[in-house]
């Protein structure tokens, strides 16, 4: 999606009709900047995009029901119509679209407005510039038009591309995991596979099963009914699991919030710091236990059999010694020696050995008696291998002793750390440190107890799911064996079996794709974070799509506790950037080598309100340099305090279009100027009109 232009009509602060052209993605100057004073309409502009495309507004927009500019309402005569609209022009896969959302209200007495219905228009611009309206014959068919827009950019994705930068860290919060997973799977087209599996199993297979049961006997009908019961049970368990995971994420988030509050209490500062150290030590200890267990498993699988081999060694030695004593070993005549005599037809004493002679027959008899030579060689080699094997056995036993001792020490260490941690946690809630400390500790204790229970719920449900899956698979096999009445029944049975197989295949492909997407995102976010971050932290995406920030403690990756808002924002921005990159990469690949009949991935712009707002100075410049590279097209709204020198310096060469949101206010003495590139421009204008409004002014280079 390439944004080309926007037309605002009486939308929030933007009085009358105002046109905005966006910087094109091509040519390196892909950033459009809007400078605006507080209240000039930066958030309103972000909402203009969202309202136009989806008819929604963000939660931080005050009085979202009132979209019409106050001044337009104030100037209208009673009974007159006040129109509000936003029109957006954009290009997707080479096709140019115009979307317009509008509504008309009627001015009543005072400043009240009777708000009318919202209408949506969508046109595709043809090759000769002609406008082809979508759903043109049905003016009321907004759903059709909305569907088309939702296909271009699904509504659950817009929070990733149109967002308030001051709150972007929410994307990295634990309660956003579900949204992240859903967004990632939709954006990167995994959702298509996931939904394909679900819909085949929940809608298509049951419909076929219902038809099939009419073509079979009581056994088949009972089996189908049982299969449907298991299908329903699986859906229920999946729902419960989703809920349980949300509960765990919510509790973990609560724990983080309460611990953050604890950390800010001066009276228990030393204790909370000690707790963090102990937790680091505990995680370290857990990692070492895991490593020791791995070493033990690998040693046992490599040399474990040697522990039981001593009696075999002894027996072998006894057998060899006995054979030697009897003179069986070593054999007295080697077979090669006899073979040579037979070939030369001459004995060692010089007597001839003609074929068929009694002498030759005698020698052949001897030759057969020497047939144990290979065996003798094998016995000799086995015997020679016993001492090194004995030595290896001793080393292995010593290794096991060492590893077991180490494991036991680590388990003791873990127990000690747990006890110490319990003590410190109890101390944090000591009333001697004040009521607030005691209250927080109480809350944490109860949330932690709850967390243990909720985690147990997940484990229990996982087991139930596996059990149900096994039953489902058994019943499927049983249905396969059962007979149907006629050819029609046989066809439906075949169709049902094919649907089951296709659903299984889709499920497997979903797993493959999900795994690939996660690994790719993990690599991308790690790389992007390294480029933007100041501290030596590592950003990654976990197996369940959690955004993680970790640091190395004694060589082991540990989660970062108490990351600053700025750091969380950079993490969230890194995540968005990695999504945009992956979607672009998917599009490039699907254009050339996709096995599917549709394009996957896409190009997306980023529209950010105040992305530098809560960043520390160090991050501000870094992010400013980095933001233009995040996406093919970047639109930024910022106030002068957010857009300081370092930001201007970082983005300057990439700015393609620049606007000032010129705020008109009745407040006396409110006039302000803004300095851009050595020139001064009106920023806030105090005029006589009692209703505030904003005019969008383009800053042109030559001015």
């Amino acid at each position: 999606m390439k944004l080309q232009s926007m037309r605002l009509q009486n939308f929030r602060q933007f009085f009358g009709e105002q046109e905005i052209d966006f910087a094109a993605p091509e040519g390196g100057r892909n950033v459009t900047v809007f400078h605006g004073y507080n209240g000039a309409g930066k958030t309103a502009l972000l909402n203009a995009f969202i309202w136009c495309l989806y008819g929604q507004t963000t939660s931080d927009l005050e009085a979202p029901e009132r979209l019409e500019t106050e001044r337009a309402v104030a100037e209208a005569m009673p009974g007159a119509e006040v129109k509000v609209s936003v029109r957006l022009v954009f290009v997707v896969h080479g096709e140019r679209y115009i979307v317009e959302r509008r509504r008309a209200g009627t001015k009543e007495s005072g400043a009240t407005l009777r708000i009318g219905d919202t209408e949506l228009s969508l046109w595709v611009i043809g090759p000769n510039g002609e406008l082809n309206a979508i759903g043109a014959n049905d003016r009321t068919n907004d759903r059709l038009r909305q569907n088309r827009i939702d296909q271009i950019l699904p509504p659950d994705l817009y929070p990733f591309f149109f967002f308030n930068g001051e709150r972007v860290e929410r994307l990295a919060s634990k309660d956003a995991y579900d949204r992240i997973e859903s967004g990632v799977t939709t954006l990167l087209d995994v959702k298509i596979f996931e939904r394909g599996t679900t819909h085949l199993r929940r809608h298509v297979a049951p419909a076929l099963a219902e038809q099939l049961s009419k073509y079979g006997d009581a056994d088949l009908q009972a089996a189908i009914a049982e299969q449907q019961r298991h299908e329903r049970r699986e859906q229920e368990i999946q729902e419960e699991l989703k809920q349980a995971r949300e509960n765990v994420a919510r509790l973990e988030e609560e724990i983080e919030t309460y611990e953050q509050k604890q950390r800010s209490l001066e009276a228990i500062k030393d204790l909370t710091e000690k707790r963090e150290r102990l937790r680091d030590d505990l995680r370290n200890c857990e990692d070492r236990i895991e490593k020791t267990d791995e070493d033990l498993a690998s040693a046992i699988s490599r040399d474990g059999y040697l522990v039981f081999a001593d009696s075999v060694f002894r027996k072998t030695e006894e057998l060899v010694a006995a054979a030697r004593q009897r003179g069986d070993l070593p054999a007295k005549i080697k077979p090669q020696f006899v073979d040579d005599l037979l070939a030369e037809q001459t004995c060692i004493c010089g007597r001839p050995l003609p074929p068929g002679s009694p002498e030759e027959a005698k020698l052949l008899h001897w030759r057969n008696a020497t047939g144990l030579a290979e065996l003798e060689e094998a016995i000799s080699q086995t015997h020679a291998a016993i001492p090194p094997l004995r030595e290896r056995r001793s080393r292995h036993v010593a290794d096991l002793d060492r590893l077991m001792t180490r494991r036991s020490e680590l388990l003791t260490e873990r127990r000690r750390l747990h006890e110490e941690l319990d003590t410190v946690e109890a101390q944090c809630g000591d009333t001697a440190y004040g009521e607030e400390a005691a209250r927080l500790a109480d809350h944490l204790k109860s949330i932690n107890r709850d967390l243990v229970n909720r985690k147990a719920d997940i484990k229990f449900l996982d087991e139930k799911l596996a059990e149900n899956e096994e039953k489902r698979s058994d019943i499927r096999q049983r249905i396969k064996q059962l007979q149907v009445h006629d050819a029609k029944g046989a066809l439906i049975k075949r169709q049902k079996e094919s649907v089951d197989r296709v659903a299984d295949a889709l499920e497997e492909i979903t797993r493959i794709q999900k795994d690939d997407v996660r690994q790719d995102l993990d690599e991308q976010i790690g790389e992007i974070w390294r480029d933007a971050a100041i501290k030596d932290y590592r950003a990654s995406v976990s197996e369940d799509y959690r955004l993680l920030l970790t640091k190395k403690v004694s060589g082991v990756e540990q989660p970062v506790h108490g990351a600053s808002t700025g750091e969380k924002q950079v993490l969230a921005l890194s995540f968005v950037a990695s999504l945009v990159k992956k979607a672009e990469q998917n599009l490039r690949e699907s254009e050339t080598e996709s096995p599917w009949d549709f394009l996957t991935g896409g190009q997306y712009p980023l529209v950010m309100d105040s992305p530098f707002g809560a960043l520390e100075d160090d991050y501000r410049q870094k992010v400013a340099e980095w933001v233009p590279n995040i996406a093919q097209q970047v639109i930024v709204m910022a106030s002068t305090t957010q857009w300081r020198n370092e930001v201007e310096k970082g983005v300057y060469d990439r700015i393609g279009k620049r606007y000032i949101l010129e705020l008109h206010t009745s407040k006396e003495g409110a006039d302000r100027q803004i300095e851009i590139d050595g020139h001064s421009y009106p920023y806030v204008i105090a005029d006589n009109d009692p209703a505030e409004c904003t005019i969008v002014r383009e800053v042109r280079e030559e001015s």
Binding site: L491, R501, A505, L506, I512, D520
Partner: protein, 59 residues
């Protein structure tokens, strides 16, 4: 590395597809096409399209 992983993903996907019959592969592609058209919808409206796809491909 990227290239290798991509090829591995494609190979694994191919392997899964090869376990299906030709008509089942066609059905799978039709299902994905239907999902591609409906993926943005919260509710699912493609059941009849899917059943038609089954009837047309598995005979």
């Amino acid at each position: 590395m990227d290239r290798e992983r991509r090829q591995a993903v494609q190979a694994r996907t191919r392997e899964v597809l090869e376990r299906l019959s030709e008509s089942e592969r066609q059905l799978l592609k039709r299902i994905l096409q239907i999902e591609h058209e409906h993926v943005h919808q919260q509710r699912f409206y493609g059941k009849e399209d899917m059943l038609r796809a089954v009837r047309e491909t598995i005979k």
